[in-house]
Symmetry: C2
Subunit: 242 residues, 2 copies
Amino acid sequence: MTAKIRLYVDHPLGDGQTVPLDRDQAHYLFGVMRLSEGAPVALFNGRDGEWLAEVSDAGKRGGVLSCVRQTRPLQMPPDLWLLFAPIKKARTDFIVEKAAEMGAARIMPVQTEFTNSERIRQDRLQAHAVEAAEQCGGTYVPEVTDLQRLDRVLADWPEGRQLMFCDEAEVGRSSVLPDGLSKGAWAILIGPEGGFSEAERARLRALPFAHVVSLGPRILRADTAAVAAMTVWQQALGDWTA
Amino acid sequence: MTAKIRLYVDHPLGDGQTVPLDRDQAHYLFGVMRLSEGAPVALFNGRDGEWLAEVSDAGKRGGVLSCVRQTRPLQMPPDLWLLFAPIKKARTDFIVEKAAEMGAARIMPVQTEFTNSERIRQDRLQAHAVEAAEQCGGTYVPEVTDLQRLDRVLADWPEGRQLMFCDEAEVGRSSVLPDGLSKGAWAILIGPEGGFSEAERARLRALPFAHVVSLGPRILRADTAAVAAMTVWQQALGDWTA
């Protein structure tokens, strides 16, 4: 019995555990996907790994799934935050989706001097991160934080966390992360479409925990830069190498 | 005088060169963007670098730009082909856009056993590559080829070109390209959403010019995999390092 449907639930998963479904979930599983009692569903909640469950009660307004066995353990991503300045709606959605796929532990929209958006829909972005995890076989869902001002995030920076700062003005210089950096708590910062202001750049470059990186000789859009930067980081300091 | 508008034209550029505009270009520059005579425009044609030009004649159905001086030389990307299996329309567009930004020289949609699309709109995809180059300051536009069958592409494989084969079935293994590979002519192959068939995988793994690479421990969508694979390649074998 293998499940073709993967569903995120905000409920404990374990041996003998039953999971009640809300109206939307019941509509999706029984109305749209036409599952009946006994049908398999893969479940994860971001904490207990992936579980094979089966439908034990199917109703129009609700239902119950019962956990059968754990099929994969929880796979935590490395301790990587992705900080980015929100851009147009579709590309912001895309950055959140890609950050979840690429293994960011936390996704933080930040407001810079040249950021256009004054606000974001945190709940919608969080739903995108859940959907990306459902689609891509993830067992962990990164938290999407509310929009914060970059200067305040930097002022409250946690001790010991390093920052990979992708500076557009570095386009064309050597791009790789310097050797000898230590693994552990990190963050990546991607700028807005208009780049950082001179004051922001000066401040970022002076931070003792910041490492300036260039992403090759071409100008990249913010969403491309996010995937490229996470690739560079995962290869050098994350879980892409044994 | 700096130009805020960047335009691709299929016309020679050089000292004293004039460039006639067609009706669509004239409508965009004079109707939509409201440029008048003497206004600056940045031009590139994929061959002669970037040129500063100015409007010397503005009409409703056409017009003329005159080259003033070259502002950037032609920057050729490395000799990298990106082969990918077309997926849903929006994500296929996205792969073409990203390949142009990331510096692919040629973009080749290929039909695999599990590819859904029977056909693509080559002209529309080529227009996406032009737009990506316009937006991202590129002076080169990669050619988008028509859809070809993967088995035929492999049967006609050019001598001396190496292939980085991103195999989904390798998820979780060590991901970096092996050391000691030579630069030069390369291609990257990204699979369709359903992966490659067993027969395709066996054939690909047996090719003497193919190198199997894993892109980390998480399953990536095809568009994410394309950006991540080009990042890996550009860092190791392309123009991201001096």
